[in-house]
Structures are given as structure tokens and as C-alpha cells.
Symmetry: C2
Subunit: 360 residues, 2 copies
DNA sequence: CTGAAAGCGCTTACAG
DNA sequence: CTGAAAGCGCTTACAG
């Protein structure tokens, strides 16, 4: 449990009866102008069959009263809510916050709102959020799957109702929807190849869990680079994280560096893990980059701050978010225009690249 | 401009006509059961005047058809949307993502949804978001003010319509609403006092911009600690950031350390700035903590990763978010219950504490 | 050029 | 115990 710093009852100092001021509606404008709601509605939407005079009067009064259309009424009537749902595994995360930033800035330009929900990496909660977003009549959904999610059946609800879905980063390639991912294989390949070019002969890989595609892809890239260089892929040099955090990096690095034939290079699945490696190396007096070269993955803030600064693979979070949002909105709008829509499996792959720093 | 990695048109592979499956409504249930919408509605809400038999039949069919009430219709009718609006200056930010996490987890337990918007630290955009959230009929608003925001007149719209508002972290103390803040004065005081206790005699402060209350409070705490210890407050030892980033910390530290009478301790307004100080010190060969002791503020991830690990003031982001959300929801629900509400100025202050690491 | 009417999906006071 | 009716705020096909 978290600290209960918060008292149970807030000191609400006064509660005074106030007539809840009501929002200005079309009716208010109509009444003041002595015309109908119909005419007001049409005037505001610039229908050609309304007189210039009326239009002007309506617009002026609307501006004066700061009229704002009721989005709920609009959504109820028009079957479009201008709201997009997002399901994200966690929010305290450099990469994901960049993704969200990209999503929000894109949606802002398009006049869509973002309803954001958390799966906390739980498939059960993820399913619940799908239902919640469906109940909220979002026009589309963006999701990065929970780590533990294998079966994606809970997303079928969306396809059944023709609600466009775009998966990003953590995706399920078999599911019939659009996807935005990075080229993890290429990323792992570039990282490993870089270590090889720096003269490493025994390269270890601290990888992610067995099932997420990202972890698999990065591992494949690692193997590919080794093979291409004619280096042996020694299975004892590959360790698999569960939590993918600094501590695991630290522990695995200690094991690797203590082994009879320690590695001279380590490619870690994330920057966090790589920083754990740096800490272990420091503790054991293994000089980085002289005796051990380290490459991370993500290009997060800590990569810059680490000592030595970490060489890493840039993972374009902002662009991924922007691309996913864009893919979704364009799909929504095309479907709208054509009055027809069917989910298709389609993927867009963003490139990654190496950021060279002091650790290699 | 950002990289245009994204093609202009997505390859939408097929678009096939599909009869948009319609959402199941009360009407559907009523028709199948040969009863009225009224009865169905009452049955689902467990009204006492509906027969057990009918209730059971309705519930069963509703479950079978996976009926979900239309939240727009509910909101339109009931004047409650179960949606909270959030306006945040930026999202790629350790502290703010923790705040959001606290907010979301609390709202989740209470069955509220979160509509999240960005001010990008612009007062203009902040005002726009207030209007947007108002138009969306949120039940309440949470905001952390943009750095440049001085005049908060754009929030009056909310009070006019009796929409509860809670400001957190970056607040305006004069505005008539509830606030959740940390004790910045105490934080600055603790940080500075710690440096004094470690033997520092000439303590510099790299502070934030002139207007945000956080920066002012931390600075005041700094002065208070100096005064209490009988140390002179040398104005040449105080530098004021504009962007509050690593680079500014680096630059100011260089100036301070190059001066004729360099400081032996530096209290920086954030961890980012403090890390800049560490980098400058390293470059100039000034040993930390032997020759220079450094304290940051926030307890962000980079504080742990920095070399040496940074002593800092813990700023409880999660708890701030949770407290703000809780304050808001409780206010909403009390107002609802009593049928009356009036904004009151009220503040809740969360404590901070020192995290000792290697930099001091 | 303007307006009456129906309807989106729901709830609730009222009638039977 | 069940249902007809009104209404939340809007839009739009249709009539005048």
C-alpha cells in the first residue's frame, strides 16, 4: 500500500446554494431572437437556405453568449464522438510518454479528443478498457498490448462494430488491424554489428521476455549480425529478463562478467537494463568501453545521463505515436467518406538508428 | 519540423461494404421481450416496482446481448458524464507522468474516465483546452498551470458553471478553487540545511524562473536555511533558469565554479539542472562530493543513474495526482448529494523529504 | 427563406 | 406491475 498522506475527508469550507447556471443552447439563442431552433442550427452551420441577415444575427448572439454545441448531443445524434481511446500498458515510461505526446499533438490538429486508459500490463484490465471505450463510443482505438497479453480476443468487439483499431509497439501480428511498429530486427542487428565493428568477439545479449515480439525481434537481429560476421552464437551469453529493469541488468551482467569466458560486449534489450550492466561493470572494476562495450535500446533520458553515456538505438516514440494516430484518423475519415469500412491487416514499420556515445 | 517518416497516404488495402452492426439498445431488448423500453430501463436499474420475473428476463437478455448503456445518452439526460478533464503542461516528464498515473488509478476505482489535454506550457492553448473540456461537459477539471500562465481568467468559465476545479503543483494561490501542492519552502529548506550540515559554507542556488510559485518557494526555503545558520545570502550565488534543463545547469555551474570565490555546495531547482551541474563539475575536475556537494529536487529516474548518484528532494508525484483526483471526486459527489456547490479556496500540502545519495 | 416534426438512447414523473 | 409521454440538445428531411 501507498502512504496514506491524505486525510479521509477534505475540509470543504462552505457549501452555498447556487442556481446552477445552465449552458446556453440553441433554444436560448432561438428564443432571444424569436426564431426556431431549426433555423439557429442551420444558420450556425451556414446552410444556403438561411438569409444573410438571420445568419449574422445568430452568429453574433452565439458569440456573445459563448455558445458551445453540446458534444454529447452531437455524438448521440451523429454517431461520431470525435473521441479516440488509448490503452497503454504504463504511463511512467519515457518511451510511452513520447508516444502519447505524438498522439496528442496529432489529434489536437485534427480536432479529436483523447480518452486515455491504462492496462497496467494486465490482460484482464486491458479487456475491461476495451469495453469501457466501446461503451464510450470512441471513433477509434489505439493500443499497445500488455506484456502478458497473448490472446487478443477481447479486441474482436471493436471489429464487430467496425471501430477502427491501430496497434503500436506491442502488437499481435496475426490480428486483423493496422499496426505501427519499429524494425526491432534491424535495431538488434545494428546494435550488434556496431559492437562487432568496435572489435568485440564475444558479444552477450540480455534480452527481454520470451513472448513479446520486440524482444524476439531484437534477439533475431543480434543472431543475424553474429552469423553474418561468422561469430559463434554462444547460448550461455544470452540471458532473458522477466521484469526488464535495472536490477536484472545488474544481476545478469555480474553473472556474465564472472563467468570463465566473460563477454567483451553486451547488447541489452533496453537502456534501463544497460545501465544495470554499467553499474555491475563499475563495481567489478571492468572498464567501459575499454574492456567491455555496452549498447542499450530506446535512447531514453537515462542513456544521456549514464556514466559513461550510453550508446543506444533510437526508438522514435513521438513518431510512432504520431503515425499510429494518423493511421487511425485517416482510416476513420476514409471509412466515413465512403460509408464503408472493413478492418484490414496492414503494418507500417518505422526505422531505428544508432546513437553513438561513450559506452562503446 | 519533425522528420516526415510517414507517407502521406496509407495503403488501405481493401474497403468492403459491411452493414455497420448497430449497438444493442434498450429498444432491442424491449422488442425481443415484447415489453417497453421503460420497463427494461427500470428492470436494469432494479426499480422495486418491476416483477422479479421481468427483471430476470431482462438481465439475462442484456447480458447475452452484451448490452452497454450509451454513455452519451446518459450524459445528455443526466447532466453527469463521469468524465474528468486534465490539462497538463507536458507529458514527457517523469514527475507529471507519475501524477497522471496517480490520477488514473484513482479515477479507475471510482468509475470515472479521463480526458487528457496538453497545454504545452502555453497559456493560449491552456485556455483553449478549458473551453474544449467545458464543451465536453466534464464533471470536473484537474490542472497544473502552464509555466507562462499568470492571468487565470480563462478558468472562470468553470466556476461560472459550477464545474469543480482542482489545481495541482503549478497553481495560482489567489484563484478560488482547491489546490494540491507540495511544501516547496520546506523542500528548499531541507535541501539547503542538508548541505549546511555536510559542512558547506558557500551555498549556491540555481533556481527556476521568477514567477512560478515552486521556484519562489524553493528559493525562500534556501534563504531561510541560510539565515537560520547565520550564513550570508550572497546574491551572486543565485542563478535563475529560464528553460530549467540540463544545459542551463551546466552553464550556470561553469560560471559559478569559475568565479573567484566558488561555492562548495549547490542546490539546484530540479534534478535535470543538478545533473548539468555534475557534468560541469566533472569537466572542470571539481570532485563531487569532496569539493562540491550537490542536491537536486524531484527524485526522478536520472537522479539514481547520475554519477555520482544525486541527493535530492522526493516530490511525491503519484500521491499528488491521487490527492488531486480524490479531492475533485469528493467535491463532485458531495455537491451532487447536496444539490449545491460553490467553489472555495482550499489547499492541501503534501510533505517532501530528502533522499541521500552520493553527491553530498 | 423559415419552421414543425421525428429521432438519436436514455430516464423518470405520472397514469392506469 | 407495466407503459405512454416528455424531455435532455441537437440535426435534417420535409412541408409551407
Amino acid at each position: 500500500m501507498r502512504n496514506r498522506l491524505i486525510p479521509n475527508i477534505w475540509p470543504i469550507k462552505k457549501l452555498v446554494l447556487v442556481t446552477m447556471k445552465h449552458r446556453v443552447t440553441l433554444k436560448d439563442i432561438a428564443q432571444r431572437l424569436g426564431i426556431t431552433v431549426t433555423t439557429v442550427s442551420k444558420a450556425l452551420k451556414d446552410y444556403p437556405d438561411i438569409s444573410k441577415k438571420t445568419k449574422e444575427a445568430v452568429r453574433e448572439l452565439a458569440a456573445q453568449l459563448k455558445y458551445q454545441p453540446d458534444s454529447q448531443a452531437l455524438a448521440l445524434r451523429g454517431s461520431k464522438s470525435y473521441t479516440i481511446g488509448l490503452i497503454i500498458p504504463e504511463i511512467v515510461h519515457f518511451f510511452f510518454s513520447n508516444v502519447i505526446n505524438g498522439i496528442m499533438n496529432y489529434l489536437e490538429t485534427k480536432g479529436y479528443r483523447l480518452l486515455i486508459t491504462l492496462s497496467n500490463n494486465s490482460t484482464e484490465l486491458e479487456a475491461k478498457q476495451v469495453n469501457l471505450l466501446f461503451g464510450n463510443k470512441v471513433d477509434g482505438v489505439l493500443v499497445s498490448l500488455a506484456n502478458e497479453t497473448v490472446d487478443v480476443g477481447h479486441f474482436k468487439l471493436l471489429s464487430e462494430y467496425d471501430i477502427p483499431l491501430v496497434m503500436f509497439d506491442k502488437v499481435n501480428l496475426d490480428f486483423n488491424c493496422q499496426k505501427v511498429i519499429i524494425d526491432d530486427v534491424a535495431g538488434g542487428y545494428i546494435a550488434t554489428k556496431h559492437l562487432i565493428s568496435k572489435g568485440c568477439k564475444r558479444i552477450a545479449h540480455i534480452r527481454g521476455p520470451k513472448s513479446p515480439l520486440n524482444a524476439i525481434g531484437r534477439y533475431e537481429g543480434y543472431l543475424k549480425a553474429l552469423e553474418e560476421a561468422g561469430l559463434d552464437a554462444d547460448p550461455s551469453l544470452v540471458k532473458s529478463c522477466k521484469l526488464v529493469n535495472l536490477e536484472e541488468g545488474y544481476e545478469f551482467a555480474k553473472i556474465l562478467l564472472h563467468s570463465p569466458a566473460p563477454p567483451d560486449g553486451i547488447f541489452a534489450v533496453t537502456d534501463q537494463v544497460a545501465v544495470g550492466v554499467l553499474q555491475a561493470a563499475k563495481e567489478l572494476g571492468v572498464k567501459v568501453p575499454q574492456k567491455l562495450k555496452v549498447v542499450g535500446f530506446s535512447d531514453s533520458l537515462i542513456a544521456q545521463v549514464a556514466e559513461p553515456a550510453l550508446t543506444t538505438i533510437h526508438q522514435p516514440g513521438y513518431e510512432i505515436g504520431e503515425a499510429a494516430a494518423r493511421m487511425l484518423i485517416e482510416t476513420i475519415e476514409i471509412a466515413e467518406e465512403k460509408g464503408e469500412y472493413m478492418a484490414v491487416s496492414d503494418q507500417f514499420i518505422l526505422p531505428t538508428y544508432l546513437i553513438r556515445r561513450k559506452s562503446s
